[in-house]
Structures are given as structure tokens and as C-alpha cells.
Amino acid sequence: MDRSSHPRSRRFAPVIALTAAAALTLAGCSSSSGGKKSEEGAANASAGKATTPRMTVALVTHQAPGDTFWDTVRKGAEAAAAKDNIKLVYSADPNAGNQANLVQNAIDQKVDGIAVTLAKPDALKGVIGKAEKAGIPVVGLNSGLSEWKQLNLLEFFGQDESVAGEAFGKKLNEVGAKNVLCVMQEQGNVGLTQRCDGVAKTFEGKVDPQNVNGTDMPAVKSTITAKLKQDPSIDYVVTLGAPFALTAVQSVADAGSKAKVATFDLNKDLIKAIKAGDIQFAVDQQPYLQGYLAVDGLWLYKNNGNYSGGGEQPVLTGPAFVDKSNVDRIGEFAAKGTR
């Protein structure tokens, strides 16, 4: 930065000093609570391994980078792959055209099976046909509940978003909610819209949808606060993703509102919040199960000719409710990032 030249030693002196200082600081500044040390001890479950011939399965999803939900799906798929002596090839792209290319890529690699999410089924129709022509079995997971049969997929593992929404609505009736805010973190997402619509269908009170900018947490927080101020009669905030539920709890406090928070989907911080009573309940579509069953389903088909769901019906992985009554048991697994 300084344009006059320094002798080498002088230039590096501050760096050395800084490194030394950092080392000293690190040594003296360990935290006595929390942190990695307290987490260790949670061992992973390990199981036996199948002796069937090695096969390759491609899992192609519409994951956006860094989404905790998809990470859990992937972990489930990896667990099944490890057990079934499968090499798992994971790829993802939220753009439907790119996702179709990734499926094509898997066909070119001559994989033994493809598991694919059908967020935008029309874009994938062509390439799935190609896979079937090439004799590669294809199963669906997560999204595409109403389209998987049309596309001739073998099996489907997922949650019916409308059914989940309807179950959520019924639960809201049970707990006596009157006016519900439904927070959507991604405008125009079909699955999220179905959830809110499902809630509205069975819920007897009023449902107000609200879009928020899911990639900017402070904005999510202030937007929910603003909405609670605008309509003080809101008594339940429903979020469609776990991280947003935790933020909604803060918004409720900021707005001085008495509203309670419930959510779709789960993660390990959410479990803590349910234990603490900050969040009333969560509906879990069991993403781990979706990834696990999709890969395992392909293995069963290849090695034993089985059709999960009988080849007629989808295999539903949700909605499973998590609330104070069962949170302790699920919490153990969530701490490992598998629920």
C-alpha cells in the first residue's frame, strides 16, 4: 500500500507479531461453555453393508445452494448408499433447464438408477423419457406428487404439500388459532403456495399470506414485525421453513405481539426452540427419509424387483408433527443433523 519500499524483514515484522499474538490469544481464550467440545460424544449410527454388486445412483435435485433442508435429504441418500454398496452421485440446480442437463449427464454416465425431484415436471419430461429409453430406472422424490405417474416413474417418495397444509390447518383449529400469518420465503414457489393454500382450506379462521426475502434474514425479521404491527389480531405466525420460524420468534418479541409461532420443516435449532416453548409445533416431511428411501428403493428394484408403494401409490414421508410431546426423542437425531 505504501509506495516506498521497505526491507523485507520490516515488512514482515508486523505479520509475525500478529501471528504470535493470535496464537497467544487462541491459547488463552477458550470458551468454557458450548462449542464443539460439548457437542462431541454424539456418535453416528453405523450399520452393516450389503454384499450386492456395486451400483451407481444419481440423485438430481433442484436444491438452491446452502439450504439446510436439502442437506438432510442428501445425508439420507448417502446413508442408504453406504449401506447398499452404492456409489452416489449428487448434483443439483434450482434452474429447471440446468437440472434437466444434470439428468442427461447422469444418463451419459450410464448410472444404474436416477432419483430426481420434479419441481418443474414439464422441463424434465423429455430427459426422463430418454433415461427410460436407455433402460435406467427413475424414481421421484420430494416434489412432483401429482406428475410422477404421468412421467412413468417407478416410485415416488415425498410429502403431499396440500395434505401437509391441510393437516397443519386442522392442527391450528385444535390449538384455537383465529388469525394466521403465512410467511413465504420464496415468491412464486409452487410447493410453498400449496402449503399456504392447504392451511387456508382446512383452517376455520383467517389466513394472510406474506412474502419475505428469504436470502436476507434482517429483512425477514423486520417484515414479519411490520406485518404483526399492521394487523395486531394475528395470533399465529406460520413459517414454511425452519430458519424463518426462529426469526419469526424474534419478530413477535419485537412487535410486542402475543402471536405464537409454528412451522413447516425442522432443523436442530428448531428442536431447541420447541423444547423451550418458543415454537409450538413443526410439521416434518422427513427429508432424510426421502433421500434414503429414494436410493434404497432403486436398490430394492435392481436387486429384488420390488416396487415401493406398489408402483401405484406414492410413499408419503409426511406430515409428521413434532411438538413438546415427542421433541425429546427427535431432538437426539436432529442434533446429528439427520432430522
Binding site: 477458550s30 470458551s31 461453555s33 446452502g66 436476507d216 434474514m217 434482517p218 417484515t223 430458519p243 443433523g337
Partner: protein, 358 residues
């Protein structure tokens, strides 16, 4: 360019000591027009217009705590918009600013958690990392002479990938672990993410930091040699170098300032939400740039102010929250936002044209 850049910092402030200016041409123009020619006046009027509009359209906005909420939202944009604006006045911009915020938060969170250290260690290392990213951007720009669009597009993509990959590698998840029960957390939270009460209204500390940083940036820009350097390198790099302005130092330090901003906002996010999602922050860089541009900074550099982006960020926060307070159909949310922002920019442009026309 060089005409406006000289005019911008000097108009309504007394001339710096030892540098007496009595330019007859500016004297003759009426005070109102001279005020209007300031870069921040357009956006100030725009912000007032938006505020008045929502005071009428959305009754809850009239409440003090709603205003605190709007200011909070504005401050999280505004703290980053300030260094981004200074950088823009210096003739460059930084596309990596949005994800750099998350990089900083991830660094602090993972380092403290994985090594079970006092969170302050993570906070300080994150500061070093953020400054280093800024320095790297600046250094690459100066060394290669490539446009900042390309250089920072590169770092934007790199950081986006690194954020994800390292988080996954270190934690096994795509979000960091909760650090709220660790030593030093409460202290750091006080600094970066606390709330205090003013007349029954809870105000977030970021609002105070935002205004303090804005005051500091204004002072630096208008009253210090460094401020003159910023205008000079943004106006014309070569003539600035010819008159003895340390162009390399100025540019690199401006990028490091953005790094500092990213660190600060990153720490705020970490200490107010306890964990960080590694995929966040993408797209925020454009909002910071938009706030600076609405605030009267020219994309071409050499012109702008530090107070303008404050109003720019306020306008963003006001519109974003105002739509919610007004209870409008949420499907139209983004469209409303776009229309109001375009409208604001047009007012801004019109005011400036009218004011600077002879």
C-alpha cells in the same frame, strides 16, 4: 467530471483552512439551487415523499415502534451502503459485498465453535479475514488494471462457493452451529445486536452505528485529505496520480473499508440470529449498490456523498416495510418495490437536472 467532483464536496461547507475559494460562478446562483445541486438533496426529497406517502397510506407507520423497525431494516442495508458508496465515489464497485457479509459471519461462528474459543477470537479473526478479502480485491484490481466488475464478480463467485463448501466441510451441515451459549457471546451481542429504549420505543443498536458511521464518512469525505483523494481517484485516476494522490493506497483502502462494513453487518447477523446459513447474502450486493446510486452516487465515480446513501437505504427500508404496513397484496410486493424505487430515482434525476441547469 473534474468540475463536478470539485463542486461536490465544497458547496455548502466552509472552505478547508488554507484553501480559500471564492468562485464567482457559484456565488451568483441562488441558495435554493445551490442546495439542490448537492448529491443528496434529490434522494432526501424522495425519501420525504415516500415517508409522507406511507404515513398517509399505512396508519401503523405513524407508531414510533414501526419507525424503529423501518430504521432497523434501513440500517442493515445502510451500514454496507456507506463503504459501497465511498468505493463508488472512488470509481469502483464491489459485487462481492453481499456474500462477504456471510463469509465474515461464518468465519467468526465456525472458528469459535469448532475450537471452542471465546467468541471474541472469532470476531477478531473474522475482521482480519474481511479486511484481507477487501485488500485482495483492491490489490488484484490495481495490479491487473481489470475493471472492478470482473475482479469482484470473480471474488463474488469464489466466496459463494467457499462459504458453502467450507461450512459443509467443517460443520457437516450447511448452517453453522448455535454459539449463543458460548463465552463472550453476550458481550459481543451488546455491541453488535442489542436493543435500547428511547421513550418507550425499542431501537436497535445498528441504527446508532449506522448514523455514527455516516457522520464519520461525511467528515472524512468533506474535511480530510483522504476524502479529497477519494473524489480524485474516482474522477480521473491518471490526473489524480499526476498531482500526487496515492491512487493504489486509496483504492485498496476503499475496498478494505467495504470489508470492514461486511464484517460489521456479518457480526450483527451472527449475534442476532445465533447461527448463519451459508447460502445467504446473494443479491444483497445489488441492494447496497442501489442504495448508493439512489443516494446520488454516480456509477462512473467522482461524484456523490456519504449522507445520500443514508437516505437511499432509508428509502429502501421504508418502501420494503411500508408495503407490509399498508397491508397490500403480497403478490405485488416486488413490483411495488421496483416501481417506487424507479420513481425515486426519477425524482432524484429531475431535481438534479433542474438544479444544475444554467
Amino acid at each position: 467530471m473534474s468540475m463536478t467532483q470539485q463542486a461536490a464536496p465544497a458547496v455548502d461547507t466552509p472552505p478547508a483552512p488554507g484553501q480559500k475559494q471564492s468562485d464567482g460562478r457559484t456565488r451568483q446562483r441562488p441558495l435554493a439551487l445551490r442546495l439542490l445541486a448537492r448529491p443528496e438533496v434529490g434522494v432526501f426529497l424522495g425519501a420525504v415523499a415516500v415517508l409522507v406517502f406511507f404515513l398517509f397510506a399505512a396508519p401503523p407507520v405513524r407508531d414510533g415502534s414501526s419507525m424503529a423497525n423501518i430504521l432497523y431494516q434501513s440500517s442493515t442495508i445502510g451500514i454496507m451502503a456507506l463503504p459501497v458508496a465511498l468505493l463508488m465515489i472512488g470509481g469502483e464497485f464491489d459485487l462481492s459485498a453481499g456474500v462477504a457479509v456471510i463469509t465474515s459471519a461464518l468465519t467468526a461462528s465456525m472458528l469459535s465453535y469448532q475450537l471452542t474459543l471465546n467468541v471474541w477470537v472469532g470476531v477478531i479473526v473474522a475482521l482480519i479475514v474481511s479486511l484481507a478479502i477487501g485488500a485482495f480485491n483492491g490489490w488484484l484490481l490495481v495490479k491487473t488494471g481489470l475493471p472492478s466488475f470482473l475482479v469482484t464478480l470473480g471474488t463474488f463467485l469464489i466466496l459463494q462457493g467457499v462459504n458453502l463448501a467450507i461450512t459443509k466441510l467443517v460443520t457437516g451441515n450447511v448452517a453453522t452451529d448455535d454459539i449463543s451459549d458460548m463465552d463472550g457471546f453476550a458481550q459481543a451481542q451488546k455491541l453488535f445486536a442489542s436493543t435500547f429504549e428511547v421513550g418507550g420505543v425499542n431501537v436497535k443498536i445498528t441504527v446508532v452505528w449506522w448514523l455514527a458511521f455516516a457522520a464519520l464518512a461525511t467528515w472524512v469525505l468533506l474535511r480530510t485529505k483522504y476524502g479529497n483523494w477519494i473524489f480524485a481517484v474516482g474522477g480521473n485516476k491518471h490526473s489524480a496520480r499526476a498531482v500526487g494522490v496515492p491512487v493504489t493506497f486509496t483504492k485498496i483502502s476503499l475496498f478494505m473499508l467495504v470489508g470492514f462494513g461486511a464484517w460489521f453487518v456479518g457480526m450483527h447477523q451472527l449475534f442476532s440470529f445465533n447461527t448463519v446459513q451459508s447460502g445467504e447474502g446473494v443479491g444483497q450486493e445489488l441492494i447496497y449498490i442501489a442504495a448508493a446510486v439512489i443516494g446520488g452516487c454516480l456509477l462512473t465515480g467522482g461524484y456523490g456523498s456519504a449522507i445520500g446513501p443514508v437516505f437511499g437505504a432509508f428509502m429502501f427500508g421504508m418502501v420494503q416495510q411500508g408495503i407490509v404496513y399498508a397491508g397490500w397484496n403480497p403478490d405485488w410486493f416486488k413490483a411495488f418495490l421496483g416501481v417506487m424505487l424507479l420513481g425515486a430515482v426519477l425524482i432524484n434525476l429531475w431535481v438534479q437536472r433542474t438544479a444544475t441547469r444554467r
